[in-house]
């Protein structure tokens, strides 16, 4: 089968994708207190990419992504490892959690723990994988006979 970007999908995607991405980020941030977290957030963002893919194909996915999928995976890994090792460097030990209180006016008080940074790393890795799948496996789809 071949994907033909249809107007309906295109319009749908345009409106859905930003929402999905925002939701995914929200889910990432509140994950510590509500159902959610890096995995679910990352997967939601992945679904957003899926929508982009359905609308515009692999090329569109590549265009939407700020960085290459593999770099994203690497960045996610590095962030996660960095937060893990940070504790060790600061003398507390591998994966010791630290915390930073932030007062963001319009969201309210939020504590950016090292766990959140860690979860952000998770988020990036998951998004990277989905992006990888879409751009690689999906790319062939378009050129398929």
């Amino acid at each position: 089968m071949r994907f033909r970007p249809s107007l309906l999908l295109d319009v749908g995607a345009r409106s859905m994708v930003p929402t999905l991405v925002l939701v995914s980020l929200y889910v990432l941030v509140v994950g510590h207190d509500e159902p959610g977290g890096g995995f679910i957030g990352g997967l939601l963002a992945g679904v957003a990419l899926l929508v982009v893919f359905l609308a515009g194909g692999a090329a569109q996915v590549s265009r939407v992504l700020p960085i290459d999928p593999l770099t994203m995976v690497g960045a996610g890994m590095s962030v996660a490892v960095a937060t893990s090792v940070a504790g060790m460097v600061l003398g507390a030990g591998l994966l010791d959690a630290g915390k930073l209180e932030l007062d963001l006016a319009w969201i309210g008080k939020i504590s950016v723990g090292s766990t959140l940074v860690f979860d952000a790393g998770v988020y990036l890795v998951v998004v990277g994988l989905v992006a990888m799948v879409l751009t690689r496996l999906g790319a062939r789809e378009e050129t398929a006979p």
Binding site: M1, H32, P35, G36, G38, L70, G121, R136
Partner: protein, 776 residues
Amino acid sequence: MTSWPFLVVAAHFVGAAVLLAMPRRSRRAAVVVALAPMAAAVVMAALAAGAVIDGDPVTADISWLPALGVSLDVRFDALALIFTFAIAAIGMAIITYAAGYFAPEADLRRFLALLVGFAGAMMGIAITDNLFGLFVFWELTTVTSYLLVGFQDEKGSARAAALHAILTTSLGGLAMLGGFVLLFQAAGTATLSEIVASPPSGTTTTVALVLIFLGAFTKSAQAPFHFWLPGAMAAPTPASAYLHSATMVKAGVLLLLRLAPGFAATGVWTPVVLTVGLATMMIGAWRALRQTDLKLILAYGTVSQLGFMTALVGLGSPVMLHAALAVLVAHALFKSTLFLVVGAIDHQAGTRDIRVLSGLGRRLPWLALIAVLAAASMAGVAPLLGFATKEAAVAALLDEHAWIALAVISVASALTATYALRFVFGAFGTKPPSGEVDHVGPEVAAPGPTLWGPPALLGAAGLVFGIVPGAVDAVVSAAAPGGKLVLWPGWNLALGVSIAIIAAGVAIYAAPAALAHLQHRVAARLAALHVPSAEGSYRWLIDMLNRVADRVTGITQNGSLPVYIGVILITTLTVPAAAWIGAGGALPQLPPLGSAAEIALGVFVAVVAIAVLRAKRRLAAVILLGGVGYSIAGVFVLFGAPDLALTLLLVETVTVAVFAFVLGRLPRRFEEQPWRLGRAMRAGVALVVGGFVTAAALVTNGIRTAPPVADVYVELAPDAGGRNVVNVILTDFRALDTLGEITVIAAAAVGIGALVMRTRTQRRTDDVPDTAREAA
């Protein structure tokens, strides 16, 4: 100089390494490097000789693996002295000889490296006072001799002979290792001298001895393992002269000599060792008479002589051990001489076949003289060393009324005299012209001094020591006190027996037709009895081994994934199940059936799962799989796991999408394939697996004896900064799991990239067929 013997041994290995590292062209330097450690050994032996003969051995503790009883402790006693001297002196002769023997294009340096390494190992056997240390050197001789026998490796026969030799001796070696461990555990020490001083007894010791015998017999080419030795004649002649006459094959006898003082009285000793020795002596001598290759005559002669020594050791009394050791020394001298003579003939004439050689005696009288001297020593003719030693043996046998042994030894010795004659006349005699073969002889060029010098020296030693046996006797008696070697024993019964033996030998040689007839009849009789020959048995065993290997592998390794999985699943699950039943596992109280919602979801999952089985279209199967996933997400909701439910829903969504990409390339319907496993078989395995999972889940359910750790998480979660306990576990309590998990994801992403990214660019390299495809 306590650890000098060890250092001298080590010097050999250093020498071997240096030789290997040397450039191939520098032959002269190679010879010097090879001679150096042996010269050192001779000097060392000479310096130590005085004290050693006075019964004051040089000892040194060289620890290696005390926890396992393994050391390389040195005990340089008279026996070690004899061996060291023989190894080094004969070795130097051989090295000199080899320099002239090998063609310029041959890799002399590698040969010498192996030879010197071998000499070091052999010396190690002689000087080591620890069972396992001895084993270490023992196996080193096995390996180096393997490489030496197969030295001319472009010949298939050399490779096969090397294999035969290493397999046979390793078989014995491993049995011996087992025996050593048993003896070590029975005696509480692995130090040979201590074991022999206070030998253990009992069943363990007996078993140990039998296993050790196996090692000694295989190494010293005793029946029925003797056959590797004639085969090993594929080695270059200098190697044969060294390994298969003077040194390696004596290792077994050496070991028996070492053990005899402690264990000769053990019930198992004499019957086994004597019988094997006598049988070997007869078989060797008998078969030597049938050979036409000079080297093979000598090889079977060696087998026979080794049997002779073994038989004497088997009798075990001091005087017998003395005689055995004396025979060993004499044999080392005359047999290495003869081998070197054969090498010279082969080198000059290009053949060793006695049917082809003719008139060589007139052409090379000096070489013939050397051969005659050595052959006479072999036959036991006075005044050569071989006479004195055989005389000592016969006298001892008479003294102890060992009539059967005496009879067999006499007959075999007569045959020895016969094949000695056969050797001399075969090599140097002039034969009547025959139409079948073109004789080689009169036109042969004289060998250079490196080819006749060493055998001349060794042969002369046999004569000198025969005339002055006291020199040999002093050392032999120091090692095995109890007998005496003399040049002229006076007219006594023993001398009569000796004369009779030689007379009989000559008589047999004079009647070749009768001998041939007899040989033929014996062969026919053996064939009729279906007595398997040693050689045939070996071939059969190797063939059998290969067939069994192919067969077993063909069955187990059938290459079919479904079969592998079936076996894995069944084994992995039935073993624990059987263990549970075997341990008297009781069925637990059944848990509740579950809520209505649970049951409904469960039934739905089951129905969808079965629908997956029946799906004919790929996409349908995948969508149904997604359906299973969604319903399980429902189960998660029931279980109060919203995070799981959300994750699974998203995962299933993305997975189905990915599947769809892949399936877009594949046919819509499943092709029906011929199953390697039938439907019933698959269903059976499936039921076992499913049944196990359900049963095990029920058995392990509700048997907890302590509250789960999980409760603590709920209390601690707020401290960790989160209310969603599951997420706190994932990012804090058990963040390491999560780190690992994203690593899996990262690796998968990289893998996908590698697999698919390359589709466009890799095409060309794919055109290069890989080996597997080629084979198909």
